[in-house]
């Protein structure tokens, strides 16, 4: 059965009128059947009564003539009865004597005097048992009783063409009438149900609109006459608002996370800049004091050169990290150097050991876009650094896999919580609390067509990101 599921797939605004129409048709058929059945009973009763009266009347009139075997009298009575019969319903009446020989019939040419009446009694029924069978001619046979004894028999053929026509006419009118009524009522039902279900349709449309982003239903479209639906739509509107608020909150959280990351980076960088600055100021002071000593000046200048070179590297890394519109730039080994430059101060500040291994060549890296991969690696590193804690160990391994790039970030320390794993690995709604960095990793990797794997090996958390070649942007 495939039609039932197909029917279930129809909109409710079509299904309900269809069911209404089906019920109307069923009711119409039942009503028609009832009317036709009643009509049939009435016709049968009328027919039976006609036949009975005809036979009884003839019995009374014919008795003496049949006893005398008076052919003319019998014919005369039959002929007069036929002439006076109702609407020529009596097609033929024949009267037979005790021996079954025809005494006379209304149509002597068809039933000659003296013919065998048994030929005509075949298929005949008693007057009280006569029923419409669909045959236009019905045959009724009855014994001819006179003074309490049977002196012969009467066979009558009844023409029921008009009754059949009447039944056909009634059936046709019922059919047409019911079809019209059903159509009108089904259409009315469709209109009514469509009107009743309009808010539901609006709800469905609102939910499907804008590619799955639910939009609230305007106040004017809420059917306040229907408390149930009104409540439903109010709940829906509330829900859409909540979803919107949640998305806004997520966006704000992401921004905040970014600011936090920036703050942490800034403090690390300040530290990085501040350290050489002391040395540089000392060198400048030494040059100023020992300007006449070339060896000291040279040594101090070299010191200043190294310090300034370090500052230049740090500045460039920050510029690269925050440069706008880096989409389209391919990933380079230098990007990982920048990352190390950015992350190392953070790790050192917690006395963490950094295990930095970039095995992938420039060619393999170039298949990947720089900005998202840097973002993913930085987020994972920051997360790992936070999890590793004081004196922990954080590792980064970039390897050129068979058909893509594999970035593995490891860290010691506490295992990831279920909430963190849900953010990193699943696409479902964000669990309450916590940041959105891990979800950002998940979304970026998913966007690149890659996968994120998590493993806990002993005391170490291992997160591996596999990025396919085709997922990259080969510039």
């Amino acid at each position: 059965m495939t039609s039932l599921p197909r029917f279930r797939n129809l909109p409710v605004t079509v299904r309900v009128p269809l069911i209404t129409a089906a019920l109307m048709i069923l009711m119409g058929v039942m009503a028609s059947q009832s009317v036709l059945s009643t009509l049939g009973r009435v016709q049968d009763a009328r027919l039976s009564e006609t036949a009975r009266l005809h036979v009884e009347g003839l019995s009374v009139a014919l008795g003496p003539s049949v006893l005398r075997q008076d052919v003319w009298e019998v014919y005369d009575i039959l002929d007069r009865a036929r002439a006076g019969s109702e609407g020529q319903r009596l097609l033929l009446t024949l009267v037979a004597d005790e021996r079954g020989h025809v005494l006379a019939a209304t149509d002597p040419r068809r039933v000659p005097v003296g013919a065998d009446a048994t030929d005509f009694e075949r298929d005949a029924v008693a007057p009280q048992a006569v029923r419409m069978t669909g045959d236009p001619v019905l045959r009724v046979a009855a014994p001819l009783l006179y003074q309490g004894r049977t002196i012969g028999g009467i066979v009558t053929e009844l023409d029921v063409t008009d009754l059949l026509a009447e039944r056909r006419r009634v059936a046709l009118w019922l059919l047409v009438g019911n079809a019209l009524a059903t159509t009108v009522l089904a259409f009315g039902g469709w209109l009514a149900v469509a009107r009743i279900l309009r808010p539901v349709g609006a709800l469905v449309q609102a939910m499907d609109a804008s590619g799955g982003a639910p939009r609230p239903i305007p106040e004017t479209e809420i059917p306040h006459g229907d408390p149930g639906l009104a409540q439903l739509i109010a709940t829906y509107n509330h829900m859409t608002t909540a979803v919107g608020e949640r998305a806004e909150a997520e966006r704000r959280l992401a921004d905040r996370e970014r600011f936090v990351s920036l703050g942490r980076l800034s403090s690390s960088l300040a530290h990085e800049v501040n350290n050489p600055l002391g040395g540089l100021l000392n060198a400048a002071d030494t040059i100023h004091t020992y300007a006449d000593r070339p060896d000291v000046v040279r040594q101090s200048a070299e010191l200043m050169q190294r310090g300034l070179g370090h500052l230049r590297d740090v500045t460039r890394a920050i510029l690269d990290q925050n440069r706008l519109n880096r989409a389209g730039q391919p990933l380079r080994p230098e990007d990982f150097d920048d990352l190390r430059l950015l992350f190392e101060p953070e790790a050192l500040s917690h006395s963490q050991t950094l295990d930095w291994q970039v095995h992938a060549g420039a060619t393999a890296l170039a298949w990947q876009p720089a900005a998202p991969v840097r973002q993913v690696a930085l987020n994972l590193l920051l997360n790992a650094g936070a999890a590793a804690g004081l004196n922990g160990r954080v590792g980064l391994t970039v390897a050129n896999g068979g058909d893509g790039l594999s970035i593995t970030v490891t860290n010691t320390g506490a295992a990831m919580t279920d909430a963190d794993l849900a953010r990193l690995l699943a696409s479902g709604p964000l669990p309450p609390g916590g940041g959105v960095g891990l979800r950002l990793v998940h979304d970026i990797v998913a966007g690149l067509g890659g996968t994120v794997h998590h493993d806990r090996m002993g005391e170490q958390t291992v997160i591996r990101v596999d990025l396919p070649v085709h997922g990259g942007n080969h510039a």
Partner: protein, 282 residues
């Protein structure tokens, strides 16, 4: 001022008045048979009205089914006069007298018709052997005697010649029996068939006249011979013979498609007597 004639008529009327009153108690009984249009109530009531007017007394029209019943009633005095047939008149010629004979198409004569269904191929009586036949009345001249005597001349009797012979006791019934197919043929009063041909052409159209007899004396009005002198009978004879003189009488005659009623002698029925002789000899 009364004329002499009017004064005389008034005197006669005054003298007759007690007699009329006396006869009012016992109406004149006049018998009819289905010899003519038996189902025409208008004819019967018009005839009664005309006779009452002409005879100046109440008339009781008595209808009987058969000529035999009429003859019996006449003879036993149950009825005073009757319109019967030439055959029963001759059967009881010694006891009955004519009080008038209708004139049809200018003559007091008519014919017997042998009829069959319109599509029957028979052309003579001989072709009808083995079929069912409808007679009118065993005492009817046109409805029995003519055919029976013709068969007697052929050395046959109706029972032998026909598969079945039925009596319908009415000339119109004979036509109905043949038209309806109950019998193949019938013996019918030619006058009745012709009148029916005018008033019920659909009925006679389903029949065909195979042969016509010679002209025979028209069914007469008769009374008992020994009562001919009675005033009622005489008045009846006068009324019948004077039908064409009054407007009521003329209306009746028009309804009956007759010209008049005239006096006639028994010799008018010699033809019937001849056929009776043939039948008696057969």
């Amino acid at each position: 001022m009364l004329t002499r004639r009017e004064a005389m008529l008034t005197g006669v009327a005054a003298c007759a008045a007690p007699m009329v009153r006396a006869q009012t108690a016992a109406p004149f009984r006049f018998a009819l048979t289905p010899v003519f249009l038996d189902n025409d109530a208008a004819v019967i009531s018009s005839l009664r009205a005309a006779l009452m007017a002409a005879m100046g007394q109440d008339i009781e029209l008595v209808q009987r089914r058969t000529y035999q019943e009429i003859s019996g009633a006449l003879l036993d005095g149950s009825v005073d006069a009757a319109w019967t047939c030439g055959y029963p008149f001759l059967q009881h010629r010694a006891d009955l007298s004519l009080i008038g004979v209708p004139v049809w198409r200018g003559e007091p004569l008519y014919q017997s018709y042998l009829i069959a269904a319109a599509d029957d191929p028979a052309t003579s009586l001989g072709n009808l052997r083995g079929g069912a036949h409808a007679f009118s009345d065993p005492d009817s001249n046109s409805g029995y005697l003519v055919t029976a005597s013709d068969l007697a001349r052929m050395g046959e009797t109706p029972d032998r010649f026909f598969s079945r012979a039925i009596f319908t006791y009415g000339h119109r019934n004979v036509v109905r029996a043949v038209a309806g197919g109950l019998t193949r043929s019938g013996s019918v009063d030619g006058y009745v068939w012709e009148v029916l041909n005018s008033v019920e052409p659909d009925l006679t159209a389903r029949t065909r006249v195979i042969s016509r007899s010679e002209m025979l004396g028209f069914p007469p009005f008769v009374a008992r011979r020994d009562r001919m002198e009675e005033a009622g009978v005489a008045a009846c004879a006068a009324a019948l013979q004077g039908l064409d003189q009054t407007s009521q009488g003329q209306a009746v005659l028009r309804l009956l498609y007759l010209d008049s009623v005239q006096a006639a002698g028994p010799s008018l029925f010699d033809g019937i007597a001849l056929r009776m002789a043939v039948l008696g000899g057969g």
